[in-house]
């Protein structure tokens, strides 16, 4: 008996159809997942079904909850259902809670049960695994970490013992170890309460870990459906197959140059000022050689990005030394040659490009500054674009007119324009869809091979690092707890933190 049955759901915004007749159902105690890349309409379908997004028009042949209530026909009944029977958890733990209200007030706001509200709130907080729930009732959302906020959001969705829980990318913004905990919590709730679960995600591994049935969504349609094992084991539909193929796969290892290009010894970097100053990087020793990719992994706040910027001479170092190509590198005395040789690629390609510059201007600027080649500037720009496989016709466009992958190519080209020797890629593929991510990774590997670049690849995504890095360093609370050859570290992590981190990684069954 299905808890929620949807047939031929269509969604449009301002007359433009975006979801074209999808059908799905979920039973009690089961999990149905929708997977797709950004813009496929997966989140939109559900928020339209629940009437959460204003200005969205949804129609369906049937959208029936518990075989009784037609969701789309009756907004008032739908609201009553939302209050009692359907819980909803959003993807943004940082902004999904009201910053002005205490968590207890938010959890029990819609509570209809008989218990005293504060007791109910404490009970739920305990159930989702928050320690000392009594003490935390009057805390505000900003006093919780990201993972804890997501737990609070789940507690809030559970307040009236709903029969159905809808989770929209519930772990996307979270670290892997926290993600593992949240997914375990969802599975546990599903089993203990007989909860029906709908999960929306872009992450194949997450879906494979939780779902009983998966729909693959693309351009507003379900192109493929089945159990995770069927779908990812022997993908039948070409799009599903392409998704599986885009998963990062371990590559052939490169042989690095024998002497390191960059060598940091006992590095210490402080951030903040006055009473809030603290060592974000503490006693790090690390080296990178030409022709190799060194992965730097760790959870948010571990100091990865700070370390990357300090290695580029962008942040002053409190203690320790950096040797680059045999010379001392100091942040307040970086030579022009060193500045050009040390380049950075950012996570968000849109934010890292000047919105007023065309791609041509973005690439011409560093060339004018550093290039000593005799060819005309326009020719050099075109060659750079060709190096990063960026079509020439895009050169006059601005960042807002490019796709995510094209922007990241432009950002990489800008770094290459300086003819760098070391590239620090700070979460350079984390904001990109799976297929685009695979392309950019391929590009990076090509550049390392052809130009003998040294790359420090910073990422929280362990699967990507495993696929691309020759060596890996694991960072935790400002310190490198372990480093070594990728395969060795993966197969036999020694440090407890590495073990915990790698143990939390989900993989797609093949």
């Amino acid at each position: 008996m299905s808890l929620l049955a949807v047939e031929k759901l269509c969604v449009s915004i301002a007359g433009q159809p975006l979801v074209h007749g999808i059908s799905m159902s979920v039973e009690r105690g089961r999990c149905t997942a929708i997977i797709g890349e950004s813009g496929s309409g997966k989140s939109l379908s559900l928020s339209a079904l629940l009437g959460l997004a204003p200005g969205v028009v949804a129609t369906a042949q049937r959208a029936c909850f518990d075989q009784r209530v037609e969701l789309l026909a009756n907004p008032e009944a739908r609201r009553a259902l939302l209050a009692r029977q359907i819980g909803w958890v959003s993807q943004e733990p940082m902004s999904a809670l009201n910053p002005f209200k205490t968590v207890a007030a938010q959890i029990t706001e819609a509570y209809r049960g008989a218990q005293p509200p504060r007791q109910r709130a404490a009970q739920l907080l305990a159930e989702v695994g928050i320690r000392d729930p009594q003490q935390r009732l009057d805390d505000y959302p900003h006093q919780f970490s990201g993972g804890m906020r997501q737990r609070v959001a789940i507690a809030m969705a559970l307040v009236n013992d709903p029969a159905l829980l809808i989770c929209d990318e519930p772990t996307t913004a979270l670290d892997v170890t926290v993600q593992a905990q949240i997914l375990a919590l969802l599975r546990q709730l599903q089993q203990q309460r007989g909860l029906g679960l709908i999960l929306v995600s872009h992450d194949l591994a997450v879906v494979a870990a939780v779902a009983d049935r998966v729909h693959v969504m693309r351009n507003g349609e379900f192109v493929d459906s089945g159990t995770p094992a069927q779908l990812f084991g022997e993908p039948a539909h070409p799009y599903t197959a392409s998704l599986v193929a885009a998963l990062p796969q371990p590559q052939q290892r490169r042989t690095a140059a024998p002497t390191p290009l960059l060598c940091a010894t006992q590095l210490q970097v402080w951030r903040g000022s006055g009473r809030r100053a603290r060592a974000v990087v503490d006693g790090v020793t690390l080296s990178v050689a030409r022709g190799e990719i060194v992965g730097l992994v760790g959870e948010s706040g571990s100091g990865k990005s700070t370390l990357g910027r300090a290695l580029l001479g962008l942040l002053p170092v409190a203690a320790g030394t950096i040797q680059f190509a045999g010379q001392r590198l100091e942040a307040n005395a970086v030579t022009a040659a060193q500045r050009a040789a040390l380049q950075l690629v950012f996570q968000d390609p849109l934010a890292s490009l000047n919105p007023r510059y065309s791609v041509y201007q973005t690439l011409a600027e560093p060339l004018q500054l550093h290039s000593r080649q005799p060819q005309p500037l326009a020719q050099q720009v075109r060659r750079l674009a060709a190096d990063v496989e960026l079509p020439e016709r895009l050169l006059q466009r601005r960042p807002s007119q490019l796709s995510g992958g094209q922007r990241q190519r432009a950002a990489i080209a800008r770094a290459l324009a300086c003819q760098p020797q070391l590239l620090v890629a700070d979460e350079a593929v984390s904001a990109l869809d799976l297929s685009v991510q695979a392309d950019i990774l391929r590009l990076l590997q090509k550049l390392v091979r052809e130009q003998q670049l040294a790359v420090l690849f910073i990422s929280h995504d362990l699967a990507v690092v495993r696929a691309i890095a020759d060596r890996v360093a694991v960072m935790c609370d400002g310190q490198l707890v372990e480093q070594g050859d990728t395969a060795t570290l993966w197969n036999a992590p020694r440090h407890p933190y590495s073990q915990k981190l790698l143990g939390a990684v989900l993989s797609v069954p093949s």
Binding site: L312, A340, A351, L353, N354, P355, R356, E365, P366
Partner: protein
Amino acid sequence: MTGKLATSAALWLLATITAVCLLAPWLAPYDPSAQNLLLGAQPPSLQHWLGTDSFGRDLLSRLLHGGRLSMLIGLCATAVALLLGVSWGATAGFVGGRTDALMMRVVDALYALPFVMFVVLLMVVFGRSLALLFIAIGAVEWLTMARIVRAQVRALKQSEFVEAARCIGLSNRQILWRHVLPNCSGPIIVYTTLTIPSVMLLEAFLSFLGLGVQPPQSSWGALISQGVETMEEYPWLLLYPAAALTTTLLCLNLLGDQLRDWLENSSPGGAA
């Protein structure tokens, strides 16, 4: 759609008002200060489209000449505010650290001063010269501009594309001129558009109190002030100057608002 229509209407209206006011010396049908005591105050007629005041002076001519002065003051004082506010705010925001803290503390302190009272005092004490009027008004209005520019510059300074610019080796000066300032031009333009009406309002306020523009010169504020004195007998002397001022302010504010909406919607991450 209505918004678009209103905007283009406001633009045309403003352009027309500005043009006829600036061309007042050539367009005005009469000498604005030529008295005709025999004629006295007349309601609007074919000879005097907007009527005459109690000295028999043609209101239309006075309105055009007054508007010319009001607008010139609006533009000049806004220029003062723009120059001062942008350079102060950009310096504070870009240099950061202690300099920023000190410079913004000065702005905060000035914010807390009863500036309008100082302006009133200034005008009383030093006589009512036009140059002083520009400076006094500009000095009041630059504070908000400085805050806006500083906030923009600080946000942009931390943005990734500025870090990228630093990484490719641009100097601070190049970063400020090429990457930071062009990207705050949107808010600067918007706020400038909104400063002009508030400057004109302040001038009219001072002139209304008898502290701004002095006879024989006249501005809309001064005309309103004169109109109020005789409004029961000759209401047109109040209504037309009031309508001129309000319409102009309305157009400027409408354009500023539209510009802001348009900028906020059209540049993703641009000015954030």
